[in-house]
Amino acid sequence: MKKIGRSKGFALTALVAAMSCAGFAQAGITDKDILADQMTTDDVVSNGLGPRAQRYSPLDKLNAETVKELRPVWSFSFGGEKQRGQESQPMVKDGVMYVTGSYSRVFAIDAKTGEELWEYNARLPDGIMPCCDVINRGVALYDDLVIFGTLDAKLVALNKDTGKVVWKKTVADYKEGYSLTAAPLVVKGKIITGVSGGEFGVVGKVEAYDAKTGDLVWTRPTVEGHMGYIWKDGKKIENGISGGKPGETWPGDLWKTGGAATWLGGTYDPDTDLLFFGTGNPAPWNSHLRPGDNLFSSSRLAIDPDTGKIAWHFQTTPHDGWDFDGVNELIAFDYKDGGKTVKAAATADRNGFFYVLNRENGDFIRGFPFVDKITWAEGLDEKGRPIFTKDGRPGNPADAKDGKKGEPVVSAPSFLGGKNWMPMAYSQDTGLFYVPSNEWAMDIWNEPVSYKKGAAYLGAGFTIKPLNEEYIGVLRAIDPKSGKEVWRYKNFAPLWGGVLATKGNLVFTGNPEGYLMAFDAKTGEMLYKFQTGSGIVGSPITWEMDGEQYVSVVSGWGGAVPLWGGEVAKRVKHLNQGGSVWTFKLPKDS
């Protein structure tokens, strides 16, 4: 029995409810709170510390001088036998932390003491099909609701005080391979979500739901040829085919199962009033089956949050043949160029290139490799389109003698990417992006495949290998103006956790070896580390409570690396699973 309420009965529950209303009444979270999140240091109410997801905090009590005094104040266990990858970013509001665990669980925790207030466990069917571990990346907060996506592709809104379900909506059919793992985004009273399932030939989409009622507002497919819809006064109205019409950049019927899953969620830029969503790999992986650019796979889409229309797109890997699944977050930032402010946005792609785009229209400003080795492209042209390397693409199985296995190639980065899901941070002080990246290659070959509902739709075989003996992970400080790497930190295991930058000249991240680490943002010197007991693959946050600065991070090794890592998996197989939130603070007197 986890809940005290029910076992102690109704009279008591009512009393407790009455007392919590009287003593702890708090206003619900508004759009304004979310837009201001980056600058309001006493809470964290959005994924990425603000809708742009810069993961930058203006707090500076904790700084390069004081960080050595940072100490743990509590650790909270997610419990049970469900200790799998913990990729969540906690949220904090009015002294309560809201954090998700593996297997679609949500916990509300007293942020001062680490004591549980409530938990919600989704009852998942056996047939869920997450490709890459049973992870979840966090909740959204709006009004008095805590909203998250489940592995059976449902959006669930819980009451923030009780954890009871207020509404629940099916976003897609899990039996076709859909699931939800990203933290939803809240923009103008709407919950914006993508879907996972690119390995199963789903059709990616971005959808907006009314945050208070859960009613669908619009749906935008991310594969060319599919109709979008908008709901007005309860009526479903056609809202334009994505890309205009089918068959422009896809052969035959392949667009019907074209992938382009929006599995990492998105960001929002209030300046341009645009949502930015990355889209994943086209399906199947075997690119010889689908000649053409395969829009809008492996792209960044700018979407109007009111109408769900695509404002612009930028494709990082046209005709993706390597699973360079370009979902990576696009982070809005401004910089000065000759006295002029450039409204830019940056993204570090799975394919190994870092892109700076004009966020008003999607125009390419510049791009450069952020990893040491890229085999599949020689570079980018003036529009940002890759210049493909001859023979860089795995061969067509139809050309093989037996027609069963195409010519394999060695490709870098590997399909797990120069950078995978783990979000980078942008420091407004240094003007640098802090990019968690990995140096690895793969052998990849194509095989024939045909679509079957709910079955893996790859048509490829692969195995990953490290490029260096000493390290795979590299945390890089990258200057988006020059493309220069200012510093790097090398890590033995692949990096798989998010990054946080602060005004205290600090950069935080965790590693699979279990350490929460803090670096000097200018020099890359490691100033602090703490062993959390299991691998860190989540994203750290910082906030202020009672005049003290806190840092929290989830710990719990897992995610895609141990499942798909090939030779790399050997480097991490000794790492133990876990499932906990660690919270640290800088005590007042230090």
Binding site: K8, A11, L12, V16, W118, R123, G127, V165
Partner: protein
């Protein structure tokens, strides 16, 4: 913070129990060690009387502790009923259901429950004028009904049939009205089995043709998997609808 407060309150209730309530109230005819504790939870320190006109029918021995048929029949109680609270003293989750009869309901309800061991079953009936009448029965049972994984856990049938209802309309035993009996597919997981979260129907409403709630129930996880429930009504009208919602937020609705 809620946990802290509820602990404090629990402590307060315990104090009351020992200092005041204990002596003045009637003793439990079943001599259950849990009576004072569970009574405190469900009816607080209100006055009450044990009342044999409330029938709590249980089998002589519960062969299958995960599916024990019980019937609560409060039709011969004088006075209008506000609610009936039913619990099992020795279950790890004591509460089974609350029943709220509307104008056309006849206060008789049958369903199947889970029991963890032999236990007293209580049906506390609160009348509109605020009196508590307690019906009771001793149920002898083999153990383990609440901590056995649901059958649904071994068979994915429920996943594609969740909330499906089979319902029939009968004449009542006294031929005075209508009886609805329905069965709904739901695993009713208690949360007490490792790695299976609690997942159960919480709300059941039988709505009359005008949309009014004729019977309302609040269920807890000790109601058996794939619940079978029958209600009696003083009503011959057609057009009834059954509405249910589980703790996962799934809603089910069906015309009977």
């Amino acid at each position: 913070m809620m946990t802290g407060i509820s602990r404090m309150l629990t402590g307060l209730f315990a104090l009351f129990a020992f200092s005041y309530a204990h002596a003045a109230q009637p003793a439990d005819p079943l001599e259950s060690v849990m009576w004072d504790y569970t009574r405190e939870i469900f009816i607080g320190d209100a006055d009450y009387r044990f009342d044999t006109s409330i029938k709590v029918e249980v089998p002589s021995f519960a062969e299958d502790p995960t599916q024990v048929p019980i019937t609560i029949d409060a039709r011969s109680l004088k006075g209008r009923i506000e609610r009936i609270v039913v619990w099992a003293d020795l279950n790890p989750i004591q509460h089974i259901f609350n029943y709220y009869p509307g104008d056309r309901a006849s206060p008789k309800v049958s369903l199947r429950i889970k029991v963890q061991q032999s236990t007293a079953i209580r049906a506390a009936v609160r009348t509109l004028n605020g009196e508590w009448h307690i019906g009771y029965a001793q149920l002898e049972a083999a153990g383990g009904g609440c901590t056995t994984p649901s059958m649904g856990n071994a068979d994915p049938y429920w996943q594609s049939h969740l909330g499906e209802v089979k319902a029939r309309r009968f004449a009542t035993d006294d031929m005075q009205g209508t009886r609805f009996k329905f069965r709904v597919i739901h695993p009713m997981d208690t949360g007490l089995v490792d790695a299976i979260p609690e997942f159960y129907l919480q709300q059941v409403e039988l709505k009359g043709p005008d949309g009014e709630a004729v019977v309302r129930m609040e269920l807890s996880p000790p109601v058996s998997e794939n619940p079978v429930i029958s209600f009696d009504l003083d009503d011959e009208r057609e057009g009834y609808r059954l509405w249910m919602r589980d703790n996962g937020g799934n809603e089910f609705s069906r015309v009977l």
